[in-house]
């Protein structure tokens, strides 16, 4: 569960990215975050996985007060949050298997468990047969699947996805969305920032629109609402 209370975020250069945002996202929800570029979507997400701390206000994720977290504790909170990016962020010199297994090595899981679970999630994203390939040998859609596999391998309760389909064609994007829906169905809360009008309109999930640092719309079964 994610809860923000009157969150303000001002960057060092004086930009007000968020201006008093309050919102509550429950367990197992699927939320689209929409709005123009620079509206504050990315800041909203970065606050969730504690890449940024709020200037003012309170944010809690899975019961942790993110703003007041001791640096020592940050890694342990992040292990329960899977993050997916538009640019995949895979390690280019590691194989597909190693890229995913890596997230489990970090939590010091036994080798046997790592192997089993990694192959399991690679199977789920449909890339078990490419486990020995390097990211550069995969298509964009396949790379994004690897990054999703990495995000979910530790069974996080929250998935944060920042424009995961931004670099992909419509057909591949649909595949990625089906995968995210499946993950949501298995119990994870998903917060996804997107500019993809078709996806938002076809899936009819909760939509939170941010403009100029404020939430301007929050609908249970919303639409994209902007001209493409």
């Amino acid at each position: 569960m994610i809860e923000m209370q009157d969150i303000w975020k001002t960057y060092i250069d004086g930009t007000h990215a968020l201006k008093g945002v309050s919102v509550r996202i429950d367990r197992n929800e699927f939320v689209y975050l929409v709005g123009p570029s620079g509206a504050g979507k990315s800041t909203f997400m970065k606050l969730i996985y504690r890449e940024e701390v709020p200037t003012k206000g309170q944010i809690s994720v899975n019961g942790f007060n993110i703003g007041k977290l001791k640096p020592r504790k940050i890694p342990f909170v992040r292990r329960n949050i899977g993050v997916i990016f538009q640019d995949f962020r895979l390690l280019p010199k590691l194989t597909v298997f190693e890229n995913v297994a890596f997230a489990m090595e970090v939590i010091e899981a036994p080798t046997r468990v790592i192997k089993k679970r990694t192959l399991e999630v690679l199977d789920l994203v449909g890339l078990k047969h490419k486990h020995a390939s390097l990211p550069s040998q995969l298509s964009g859609g396949e790379q994004q699947r690897v990054s999703i596999a990495r995000a979910i391998v530790n069974n996080p309760s929250v998935i944060v996805a920042d424009e995961p389909t931004g670099n992909l064609d419509p057909e591949t994007s649909q595949g990625i969305m089906n995968l995210l829906e499946e993950i949501n169905f298995r119990g994870a809360t998903i917060v996804m920032a997107t500019h993809n009008r078709d996806i938002v309109n076809s899936m009819r999930k909760r939509v939170i629109a941010i403009e100029d640092g404020n939430i301007v719309r929050d609908e249970a079964r919303g639409e994209y609402g902007y001209e493409a």
Partner: protein, 305 residues
């Protein structure tokens, strides 16, 4: 830390050297070249020091006795001087021996200068040759011998000579040469450290993305740091061992080939046995430290994500 985590860090440390082949090669080359220059200068400095010590060790005190000193007094003096803490060796040179030595030193051409002098007619006094442990203490040893003489009512010693004036200048020169050698070696060591750590820093800057991703999936700082630490140490050890082998093998060849020529000039190089351990310890120790230091400092910078 769990055993399998330790093994994982070791494995990753090794793998990273291979994965980042060119970067590892760049770091290793920079360590190799810096330490090579340092090693060469170190051996140079050791040899200069060695030569300075050789020259200094030739310094000795000559103590000339009065003409009428009897055997009992001579033994007494020998014991007193020999008991000084600075003195390593005292040899009695009788007047007859003194004449022989003088004849020899004058050489064939000037031999006739001493014609007419023999056992019966010998103008030279008996003397002692005194050697000291540390050549730099020669002046104080000479003063103490003088004090022994003055304490004796007979004042049996006529003259004490140790090259007064010349010796002081010699020591000034040999000490200056030593200090310059030490300063050059330290300067090179510092330069090497900066050069190497800069190269390592650059290789890690290239990997800040990797560190960022590690943090994102919830790796603790120490988890991220260990493989880099091991990688840095390995790069340092491997390249400094190679450097040490090159330097020492090169040096032993040099000693072998120059032995003939140099010994004619009365110069002896420091042997490999004398210099090998110091050189190896210094180069490998420094190389390893720099490897670890460079990678640890650089990683820390990117851990604040």
């Amino acid at each position: 830390m769990k055993l399998r985590t330790i093994l994982r860090h070791l494995r990753e440390g090794f793998k990273n050297i291979i994965r980042n082949g060119w970067m590892s090669f760049a770091s290793m080359s920079s360590i190799f070249i810096s330490l090579l220059i340092l090693g060469i200068f170190l051996l140079l400095a050791l040899n200069v020091n060695h030569m300075a010590a050789q020259i200094e060790s030739q310094v000795q005190i000559r103590v000339f006795l009065q003409l009428n000193v009897d055997q009992a007094k001579i033994t007494d003096l020998k014991n007193k001087i020999g008991n000084l803490t600075e003195v390593s060796k005292i040899t009695f040179v009788s007047k007859a021996e003194g004449l022989e030595i003088l004849r020899k030193n004058l050489g064939e051409d000037n031999k006739d200068l001493l014609d007419g002098y023999d056992k019966e007619k010998n103008p030279l006094p008996d003397s002692f040759t005194v050697e000291v442990y540390d050549p730099q203490t020669i002046e104080s040893a000479a003063k103490q011998i003088d004090a022994i003489n003055k304490a004796d009512e007979l004042a049996p010693i006529g003259k004490i000579k140790y090259g007064q004036g010349t010796v002081e200048t010699l020591f000034k020169i040999t000490n200056a040469v030593r200090y310059i050698g030490i300063i050059i070696v330290i300067g090179l060591a510092v330069t090497a450290m900066f050069l190497i750590s800069n190269t390592i820093k650059m290789t890690i800057i290239a990997r800040r993305r990797e560190i960022g991703i590690m943090k994102l999936v919830g790796a603790t700082n120490s988890f991220i740091r260990w493989p880099f630490f091991i990688e840095g140490a390995l790069i340092g050890i491997i390249s400094s061992v190679i450097t040490t082998i090159v330097v020492l093998v090169g040096y032993s060849e040099l000693v072998k080939y120059t032995q003939m020529g140099l010994s004619l000039m009365m110069i002896k190089l420091v042997t490999l046995e004398e210099s090998g351990w110091l050189t190896a310890t210094l180069l490998i120790g420094l190389g390893t430290l720099i490897g670890i230091w460079g990678s640890t400092i650089s990683v820390r910078k990117y851990l604040k994500v």
